[in-house]
Subunit: 134 residues, 2 copies
DNA sequence: CTTGAACCTCTAGCGACTAGAGAGATTACA
DNA sequence: TGTAATCTCTCTAGTCGCTAGAGGTTCAAG
């Protein structure tokens, strides 16, 4: 049996966050003490480790809830959620790479030295020079 | 003179968002009509276009506020803000690429077909197989 | 039995908006 | 000039994934 603090220390998830997850129905303590404090068993520990790892991978809590709720033998659903998230991550990477290219271009337009024409502000205000992706 | 709706249509920034920006002090209408409606001039339009483009590049509103407030001839500050943001974007890309690699590995561990051992749930719960970056 | 740490619930805040209520202003057209 | 349609006003609350704090209770060690 673990207290919420022990669970927190073992998983690296902060105490208020665990309670927050409980509010969302993602994890429920096995029981309570007479004094109303939460007590967890090994299953609770595993569940929280699962949530934490999935979060570290960037899955939104809603997707994690789906993973928890669905039939663990249903490969199709599991696969769908993971694949969707992978596609999402790839989209975000693509977008960030565009931003990176444009920002790099803007920063290079000025060497930061004094007495030099600085184009950064103008470049930020002027959409015309961009690829038009945004 | 533009109404808030005209400004919205010309810049692609939604009306409530313009008012939200005003609450943060990023843009102020040139004046108001007798009936208390906002009216903007060309400077307001340019200012909003600037904000929109900077946002599209991912700059947080706080950074945009800095850019607006600072002396436009001060290259150093401008350069610093843009460079900081570029570094931030690069960090986020690096992190997402790690996630992508791991997710791809996890998804590949299961072909989604029936009657097949699916490792996705196990892989999500088990941090041990990861590079340990998260 | 006392102390101090850990725990409880509840509320509010972050960033960057978005949605909606309910009321008032403006504009286009007849 | 009237009226109807559209626009705008302020205000509040919701989104996501937490985090921080107030004010009070319980637990475990010495």
């Amino acid at each position: 049996m673990f207290s919420i603090g022990q669970l927190s220390r073992r998983t690296g998830v902060k105490v208020p966050t665990i309670r927050y997850y409980e509010g969302l129905g993602l994890i429920v303590p096995e029981g309570r003490t007479e004094g109303n404090q939460r007590r967890y068993d090994k299953a609770g520990l595993d569940r929280l480790a699962f949530i934490r790892h999935a979060r570290a991978l960037g899955l939104p809590l809603e997707a994690i809830r789906e993973l928890i709720m669905l039939d663990p033998t249903s490969h199709a659903d599991t696969h769908r959620i993971a694949t969707t998230h992978l596609a999402d991550v790839r989209k975000r990477i693509a977008r960030l790479r565009q931003l990176e290219a444009e920002l790099a271009r803007i920063v290079q337009s000025c060497d930061g030295g004094p007495g030099h024409e600085c184009d950064i502000l103008a470049a930020l205000g002027d959409h015309g020079k961009c690829d038009g992706a945004h």
